[in-house]
Amino acid sequence: MKILKASNMKRCIGCYSCSLACARNIHKSLSWKRSGIRIHSSGGISTGYEATVCLACDPPPCAPVCPTEALRPKKGGGVILKKSLCISCSECATACPVDAIYFDPDNQMPVFCIHCGRCVPFCPHDCLEMVGSAKEVPDE
């Protein structure tokens, strides 16, 4: 399995093309936030940009706190959401150590990166890449 990494954020120009692409293609929305990858400036634009995105933890700390098993660990890291099971408690968002789960107050659903890579071709500055997950790297 491959996972999304925001490897070159020093190059980011803050165009939000990645977030907008995820919102558009995955969440059928126009949004800055309803997106698996969210770009922030850290205190004014002169300090550059940071990306908030799921790290594909393995095992993921968000999954076990889900009371309904709506969120399940994925092979190779990260999680899958079964929407119909979600009771909108937002425990997963609280549990994520890097704030990568955004709990959308509008539709009461958690939003996170599913490592599909659809944002990657929209980044004009090659900040993002899909890389092999840790599990795939053979032990030395």
Binding site: C15, L20, H27, K28, S29, S31, G44, I45, S46, P124
Partner: protein, 587 residues
């Protein structure tokens, strides 16, 4: 999707706000069109620009956030510079923030009793007292505003004015997200007159895309995105950026130097786009929703101690500002230009207007029309330190001289003399000494901007002195630019958005126009804008093209004054006819 526009209307006198629904999208499209419609609705044509009742308007377009490069906000107001209806366009995150806050436009009326900041998002509106920010520069103001409501780091847009705006300098600008501006025509003073120091827009909501057209929308998006990221025409804005024009224009003998005393100078190397890029470029940034990223940030390094002690600052640069405080003031080093740009930025002035006004003052001092007692700073072309001092005087209205200069170079010239060499075409000239078509076009242009009709480009064509062709060119360009600005797109995206692409894009989000309908809409917006401009006092026949423009030599040789005056007369008539198409409704 042809529903009314959702507009946030804030009255600062009453400290109250409300959500209003205004007309239909099909009629006004958005951006420039919507701003004009709202202006007619809210303005008091018979009052002066600083009257509390005058609205300050920010409008976005139907495609904002939905398509790449649809990233501008149109600000409209009664200009403190000339008392007429004016528009200014700014980017940064402002447009998307307004979209995600849930509004198509923001209208601010009234005047706050104390210095105020307006902050709002989709679920909150705060009118906050910020009297403690009085007189603070743009940078310090930004720091404080970032701590105010709505607190939502990362997805806010912050608009703010500096001392120039507070002091009602006629060409004070509004700073947007540090590196972009609503420049020209005095939007900063329009905000200053309302005691409005800043606006914080939080883009905190999400919108569902229309499911019935989603497939088509994604397809159109994909193809536009491809054109933008793959076509060389747009890419150039990212590479050297607009400063790539400095050398070519200098070679064409079309770059104004030292108050337009010449159009070419061998010292161009020092301030060329190449020099900036090689020596000072730190990085590029983008407006939200734009993959081009034309905003170039330079590194200004300054030694402050005897030992090797340096401090650094990040200053954005572009072609026009480099012309304004560079070639026009005879400053021939890139770091000198950045020093001045930083100062201009800090004070909240428009870089072009401030530069051109000081260029006039420098020549006036050289010629003995004014004295150093008046100018305080010992203005001399190329002297960066003198200009730093003068900029502070200018934004602080330190004496009568700067009071007059703060109303424009031609205004000061009416008082002291020296009208012949005031480089003013409706407002301080932009950086294209390309020839007669451009001079007339800026002088009579809607925004008095080189972007109104792009006539500087036509000057470089073979039929450049054919009046019929010139007028057709200018009118066609104006049509297109009104379309682009009503969609509220960045004019750098022109190559990616021919008219048929607009029609497709609009259709893919449920706004259907036939070619004829779109034409009718744009022509009606055009008539409307011009009618308001005339109604607020635009008298083209009274606008002078100062003698300096007749003395200019370009690669074509001397200015053809005869052609220029004839073109001006003819173009005046054309504009009158355009404006006459619009009939005002009784209020």
């Amino acid at each position: 999707m042809n529903k009314p526009f959702r507009v946030l209307v804030v009255n600062l006198t009453q400290q109250k706000s409300k959500v209003e629904f205004f007309d239909t999208r099909k009629q006004w499209l958005g951006g420039s069109g919507l701003a004009a419609g709202l202006f007619e609705n809210y303005a008091d044509f018979d009052q002066d620009p600083f009257h509390p009742s005058q609205p300050v308007i920010f409008a976005i377009g139907p495609l904002t956030g939905l398509f790449p490069l649809m990233s501008k906000t149109i600000m409209s107001f009664m200009s403190p510079y000339n008392g007429q209806y004016a528009e200014s366009h700014g980017g940064g995150r402002s447009a998307l923030a307004l979209r995600f806050a849930g509004y198509d436009a923001l209208v601010i009326t009234g005047k706050a009793q104390r210095l105020t900041c307006l902050g709002f998002g989709s679920k909150e509106i705060n009118i906050q007292d910020v009297h403690f920010l009085k007189g603070l520069d743009i940078f310090k103001t930004g720091k404080v505003l970032r701590t105010l409501k709505p607190r939502n780091p990362g997805h806010r847009s912050i608009l703010r004015i500096g001392p120039a705006g507070e002091n009602l300098i006629s060409y004070a600008c509004v700073n947007v997200d540090t590196y972009r501006h609503f420049g020209r025509m005095g939007g900063g003073a329009a905000m200053g007159a309302k005691n409005l120091k800043g606006i914080i827009i939080s883009g905190d909501s999400s919108l569902e895309l229309p499911s019935d057209t989603l497939k088509e929308y994604n397809k159109v998006y994909q193809s536009i995105y491809k054109t933008i990221t793959e076509s060389g025409a747009v890419k150039k804005y990212h590479n050297l950026g607009t400063p790539e024009n400095l050398i070519p224009l200098n070679e064409l003998k079309a770059l104004p130097w030292r108050n337009l005393q010449s159009t070419h100078d061998p010292e161009i190397e020092g301030i060329s786009g190449e020099t900036f890029a090689q020596d000072l470029l730190l990085r590029q940034v983008a407006c939200a929703g734009c993959p081009v990223g034309c905003i170039h940030i330079g590194l200004l390094r300054e030694r402050f101690g005897d030992e090797h002690e340096y401090l650094y600052r990040q200053v954005s640069y572009d072609y026009e500002p480099i012309f304004g405080v560079g070639s026009m003031l005879g400053v021939t080093t890139a770091s000198g230009v950045l020093t001045l740009l930083e100062e201009v930025e800090k004070l909240g002035l428009d870089a072009i207007s401030a530069g051109v006004a000081l260029a006039w003052a420098t020549e006036a001092l050289e010629k003995g029309i004014v004295t150093t007692e008046q100018t305080i700073a010992e203005l001399a072309f190329g002297d960066v330190h003198a200009y730093v001092e003068a900029l502070a005087c200018l934004s602080g209205k330190i004496n009568d001289f700067y009071l007059h200069l703060g109303k424009g170079a031609l205004n000061a010239a009416y008082v002291y003399g020296g009208e012949d060499f005031a480089c003013v075409l409706g407002q301080e000239m932009a950086g294209y000494a390309t020839g007669e078509n451009y001079y007339v076009s800026q002088a009579l242009g809607f925004r008095h901007s080189h972007l109104d009709t792009g006539a500087y480009s036509f000057d470089q064509e073979e039929q450049a002195r054919d009046m019929e062709v010139a007028i057709k060119y200018m009118q066609d360009q104006e049509y297109y630019r009104i379309l682009m600005c009503s969609a509220a797109g960045c004019l750098f995206g022109r190559k990616a958005y021919p008219r048929e692409v607009f029609i497709k894009a609009l259709k893919s989000i449920g706004l259907e126009y036939s070619e004829e309908e779109l034409d009718a809409t744009i022509l009606s917006i055009q008539a409307h804008r011009w009618a308001i401009k005339f109604r607020t006092g635009f008298k083209p026949e009274e606008i002078k093209i100062p003698k300096r423009f007749s003395e200019v030599e370009t690669w074509k040789g001397k200015t053809d004054t005869d052609y220029m005056m004839k073109l001006k007369e003819k173009y005046q008539e054309v504009l009158r006819e355009v404006a006459a198409r619009h009939k005002f409704q009784e209020k």
